[in-house]
Symmetry: C2
Subunit: 471 residues, 2 copies
């Protein structure tokens, strides 16, 4: 029943809007804290009884480790497997350590294969073995199989449960088949699915049918007649980033996964893809800032260690910049104004270069850069660097002139500014491209090389020009 009055109704819509914020957890968090303070496990159980697993996971992440484990202890008797699946890796490790391998094995056994794999793959090798040993043979075999696929591959993302039918079945047969298998709790049918896969006698997928299509087709029609044949088949070894890209590009909701022999071995659904997109997003952002993905939930000492290496690289490049400055000790000794002004050129170059670099790194990640348009991008960036360089050269030139009452000093810093902004633009685009070419992830390494270039060129250009023209 599509409502015909829909149109009139929605015309009353253009009233003032207040923004609606979706926040299912904050109020609950407050009540749980009260219950923790009152030391009332009964109350905590009551509060959490009808809360969605994803929200419970979020709640647990918000608490300090002590309180977190107290809440876990309260609900562990009927622990929802989905809560464990939804937790952040660092927090999940803590929880698993607390409840022990035996109890974890029982919880993991209740999960879908894709979720179980996701939990187990994050554990250390000995813990994995211990946990697998606690599981039933059939569960263990499925999980061990999934673990043979490379990390972050389609084989790890997929679920084994799917619906596949031969092409000569009718719509009616297909629906009846699903109805018959609906009641069996132990059926191989997935709980939720969005597409039916049509397979040939060799179990190779030859078509898909969206459920909304199946529902609108009359019973006697053969599935071969309504299946879409131009579907995407995902090789089990495909990287999860490529899977996510494909889903987005094709607006897919589920897709078949095939092995080397092109046989259907599983299905990937959009919810797992959304998690991957989100994960990759977190990773991108965190790496740009020089931190690990789990940073928020890691212990301080873990965080310190993982950040140290990035800062250490920065120390080396900063010392490199200092060495460049030391070449001009004599020059600085004569005009101390140079020491005052010299960070400006380096700082502007670093920021302008970062702008160009951000665009190049993103374009590479989005597969939008090819050899031909890379040259175009470099050309454009150098032009942008040159224009902005000239504008800021004029600004800083006048500032320096008036500040130190020395027009020649103004001219020197102005020229250095143009030089450094053009170099920054060129380096900001070419460094990511070169790193990609030699197989290093540009998102991680570009920033270090870039700031080294802009610092060295910034100090050298300014102090070098000063050494030549101011004496």
């Amino acid at each position: 029943m599509v409502d015909p009055v829909l149109k009139e109704e929605s015309e009353t819509q253009n009233a003032a809007f207040e923004e609606v914020v979706y926040d299912p957890v904050t109020a609950l968090e407050h009540s749980i804290r009260e219950a923790l303070e009152a030391d009332s496990p009964q109350r905590i159980r009551e509060l959490l009884i009808s809360v969605h697993a994803a929200d419970i996971a979020d709640l647990l992440e918000r608490f300090a480790p002590d309180d977190r484990l107290r809440v876990i202890d309260t609900i562990r008797l009927d622990f929802d497997p989905d809560v464990l699946a939804e937790l952040d890796d660092a927090v999940r490790e803590e929880v698993i350590e607390h409840i022990g391998v035996e109890e974890t094995a029982a919880v993991v056994a209740e999960m879908d294969t894709d979720d179980a794999v996701q939990v187990i793959e994050e554990l250390d090798e000995p813990e994995q073995q211990e946990l697998l040993a606690e599981m039933s043979d059939s569960d263990r075999v499925l999980i061990e199989e999934a673990l043979t696929y490379p990390e972050d591959s389609a084989g790890r993302m997929m679920q084994r449960e799917l619906v596949a039918v031969p092409p000569y079945w009718t719509v009616g047969q297909t629906i009846d088949y699903m109805r018959e298998h609906a009641d069996q709790d132990e059926s191989d049918l997935p709980e939720t699915f969005y597409d039916i896969f049509v397979v040939d006698p060799g179990h190779r997928p030859i078509g898909t049918i969206q459920l909304s299509k199946l529902l609108r087709t009359k019973r006697p029609v053969m599935v071969a007649e309504i299946m879409a044949e131009d579907m995407e088949r995902i090789p089990a070894s495909m990287d999860q980033e490529d899977v996510a890209f494909m889903f987005r590009q094709r607006d897919l909701v589920s897709a078949p996964v095939i092995d080397d022999g092109e046989r259907l071995v599983g299905a990937i659904t959009i919810d797992d893809v959304v998690d991957v997109i989100h994960e990759e997003h977190e990773e991108d952002i965190m790496r740009l800032g020089g931190v690990r993905e789990d940073d928020l939930y890691d212990a301080a000492i873990e965080t310190t260690r993982s950040r140290f290496s990035w800062l250490f690289v920065n120390l080396i490049t900063a010392v490199l910049a200092s060495i460049v400055i030391s070449f001009f000790e004599g020059t600085i000794d004569q005009i101390v104004a140079l020491a005052v002004l010299m960070p400006i050129v380096a700082s502007m170059g670093g920021n302008a270069g970062t702008q160009a670099m951000t665009v190049a790194v993103r374009a590479l990640a989005m597969k939008e850069l090819t050899p031909t348009n890379s040259l175009r991008l470099i050309g454009k960036e150098i032009l942008v660097g040159w224009i902005n360089g000239v504008l800021f050269a004029i600004l800083i030139g006048f500032i320096a002139w008036y500040w130190f009452n020395n027009p020649l000093l103004g001219a020197v810093i102005a020229v250095a500014m143009v030089v450094n902004l053009v170099v920054a633009a060129a380096a900001g685009t070419t460094i990511p491209l070169l790193l990609e070419r030699v197989g290093v992830d540009p998102a991680i390494a570009s920033a270090v090389f870039l700031t080294t270039v802009t610092d060295v060129v910034g100090f050298a250009a300014f102090l070098g020009l000063a050494a030549i023209f101011l004496f």
Copy 2:
């Protein structure tokens, strides 16, 4: 037919894997370039005839503006509306300008309401009016209605086409209804859908049924018996970021949108949500780098202008740092080694602060920070800053000592390093929290304030301590 031999088959899977890359466009791009050089529109048409709209859009984005418009001219006679919908905003604007308002209106009229709104909302007001004037009355009304909702709201994302049934219908009735409406091209049924919404007589949604559930239920069962009542209802004014958060949190594939009177006015599907997640992701990354989202496809002059403002702010903070240095001109004049070493402390502070800031900004965006755990985070960050500060103080202290053969200089830079890394940690966490409190987007503004603090404190601590202890 769920294949029972699936398990045995997949055991042959653990052979060596080579990575499969999903790249449907690059080979095609090469062929089209050849066809462009050979000036063969016929060949271009042949090449593109069975290519997916999203891939055509990607292809067009890869070409230089001239070539792009030549390809457009070749295929404009049977222009697929989805190509226009999939294009990047900046490129789409170029294409619309090229093909003209009249032709654009014809293309937009063929789109689903959600896609049409997405295209039109990006145009300038006068262009919007021109385009709407060219459309049929019914199309125009729908689009104008959608445009009354705030930008980036659920009301703009939703499609009007959906399936809603009363609770007393049976599964059989529902399926028959959909079959009857399958053939009509002008039916109000959406082409693809994943859930059926159950509405009360006031057209308020009271439950949803996943199609896979409907398909597995016998015909005489009433929909009220199998509907899920604990569904999420999305207010039309909800921000798209919150919608995306909700879909991810609840693993949704589609959800009903309601107006102020709680009546069902539309449905949001996962493909639109994936686009939003992706868009927000691009925005986050680009803003961290100080560039606009469309930067890659903007003309050089546009890019220069948008980046200028960010660099201008940086110039001011750099000058501020220089003013701090100028207070110590006398000190530098006596020991030129200070000028050589001074960028190191500031640079280390900037990077350490950025690490802390990245974590805080992400946690705020992911709604993972609350008043209680914010304090915990600040405490942890200061501890991390202190530990890394001590470690790097020892390193740089010895370097400075040996370099300039001056143990006191080593001690001064070491103390300055600890001070600046602790300040950086505190500022990196508190600045985003304060900005969020006063309603400024922390992702945009945090970096500017942070580097100002770390530069000023870095230079002041090092030169100030030197002024006190080295003379």
